[in-house]
């Protein structure tokens, strides 16, 4: 049907914009009600002043549409994987029109950026350290404190 196709297309564009905007926002995004819908009298300046994404959506919905197959109320969508995390929205319908969309889950992707640990050097071999039972003539290690040296020396001397 004409109206629902446009609405679905509009919603698709809307969500694409939301996913895009996650890359540039930190705070929880809440889509504020556009003036054009709240204010029933026509507002000719509205579409340029609306937040970018919503103008496309709302201007495509004719003011006198009979999209009343959507019952008034607030509805929660399923949660979907957006790669860096989940996205879940709730939508509010009023007088057959979308009047609010709210994010219930969004990926705080900036805190889940991949931590490059030493796995970033995959071409160098690694192994768990293991105690070796072996006779050696000398040992390389970090510096002893003087006290430790004296203790070690006296314990060695006690065996001599």
């Amino acid at each position: 049907m004409f109206n629902s196709k446009k609405l679905v297309a509009g919603l698709a564009v809307f969500f694409v914009f939301i996913i895009y905007s996650l890359g540039v926002r930190h705070e929880t995004p809440v889509i504020s009600k556009p003036a054009a819908l709240e204010n029933k009298s026509s507002n000719t300046t509205s579409s340029n002043n609306l937040t970018a994404g919503t103008s496309t959506t709302y201007s495509s919905t004719p003011a006198n549409s009979t999209a009343s197959q959507y019952k008034d109320g607030t509805y929660t969508g399923n949660s979907y994987d957006a790669y860096y995390g989940s996205v879940q929205v709730s939508v509010t319908i009023n007088a057959g029109k979308i009047t609010n969309v709210k994010f219930l889950q969004y990926p705080n992707s900036h805190s889940t950026s991949v931590f490059i640990n030493q796995q970033a050097m995959p071409y160098l071999q690694q192994e768990a350290i293991q105690s070796q039972k072996a006779n050696v003539q000398l040992i390389s290690g970090a510096t002893f404190t003087s006290q430790a040296f004296v203790q070690s020396l006296s314990s060695a001397l006690s065996k001599a």
């Binding site: 105690s131 003539q137 000398l138 970090a142």
Partner: protein, 237 residues
């Protein structure tokens, strides 16, 4: 400085020649120890004019500057406005002492100071020198045995003296992920200065060592995992 020094000479050596090695190290300590207020480095840090610096000190400071360039700034002897060249002097002085023995015709020996080692020739059993790498989590254990002939070995670590190695690019950062880094090089001067710099790089230090021809490294992190350079195994088993 003020660290224990061990010298083992397999060949025959005169007592006076042997003692001369320890006398040399004492002189190095007198000049470069930041713990001695009378040392030349302490006097420099208290404002001794440059025209009164010894030529040897100038040489050492030049070597420190060169090392800083070679390590992209990670070897840096500046400590809160004071100079502390001990990260280079230790290996440099051991290397000098080894040269003194070689000049005497001594071929089979090792010199060890503060965990840094220069070996030469073969041990008393006519085999390569067998050097253990200390377990940074248990100083009574060794975690690796390396067999050396003429190389130098230096280990930088945090487990005994505390975190005495600084990242010159972030003085508040504690080098916590790397517990110890052992570097094998053609001589202990090279091993020591590169181990000092690479340790300050944190986890990428071992990659830096891998990129330098002639150096091999073995790094232990705080999860008891070791990472080693591509040619390191030529010194094991």
């Amino acid at each position: 400085m003020g660290m224990p020094i061990t010298v083992e000479v397999v060949d025959n050596i005169d007592d006076t020649e042997f003692e001369a090695i320890f006398t040399y190290f004492k002189a190095v300590d007198e000049r470069y120890s930041t713990y001695k207020t009378t040392s030349e480095i302490s006097q420099i840090n208290h404002g001794l004019p440059e025209n009164q610096w010894s030529s040897e000190m100038r040489l050492v400071l030049d070597l420190c500057e060169q090392t800083k360039r070679l390590t992209n700034g990670y070897f840096d002897i500046n400590r809160n406005g004071n100079l502390d060249p001990s990260g280079l002097v230790k290996g440099w002085s051991i290397n000098n002492a080894a040269k003194k023995l070689l000049d005497l015709g001594i071929v089979n020996f090792y010199i060890e100071a503060g965990g840094d080692i220069q070996v030469h020739g073969i041990n008393a059993s006519n085999k390569s020198w067998e050097v253990g790498i200390r377990n940074p989590f248990n100083i009574d254990e060794i975690i690796k045995v390396i067999k050396l002939h003429d190389e130098g070995v230096a280990t930088s670590g945090t487990y005994i003296r505390g975190e005495h190695i600084y990242n010159p690019f972030d003085k508040n950062q504690k080098i916590s992920r790397v517990k110890s880094l052992t570097v094998i090089g053609p001589n202990v001067y090279e091993s020591d200065r590169y181990a000092t710099a690479a340790f300050a790089m944190g986890e990428t230090g071992i990659t830096f060592i891998d990129s330098i021809p002639g150096l091999e490294g073995y790094m232990v992190d705080d999860h008891k995992l070791a990472t080693f350079t591509k040619g390191f195994d030529r010194y094991t088993a």
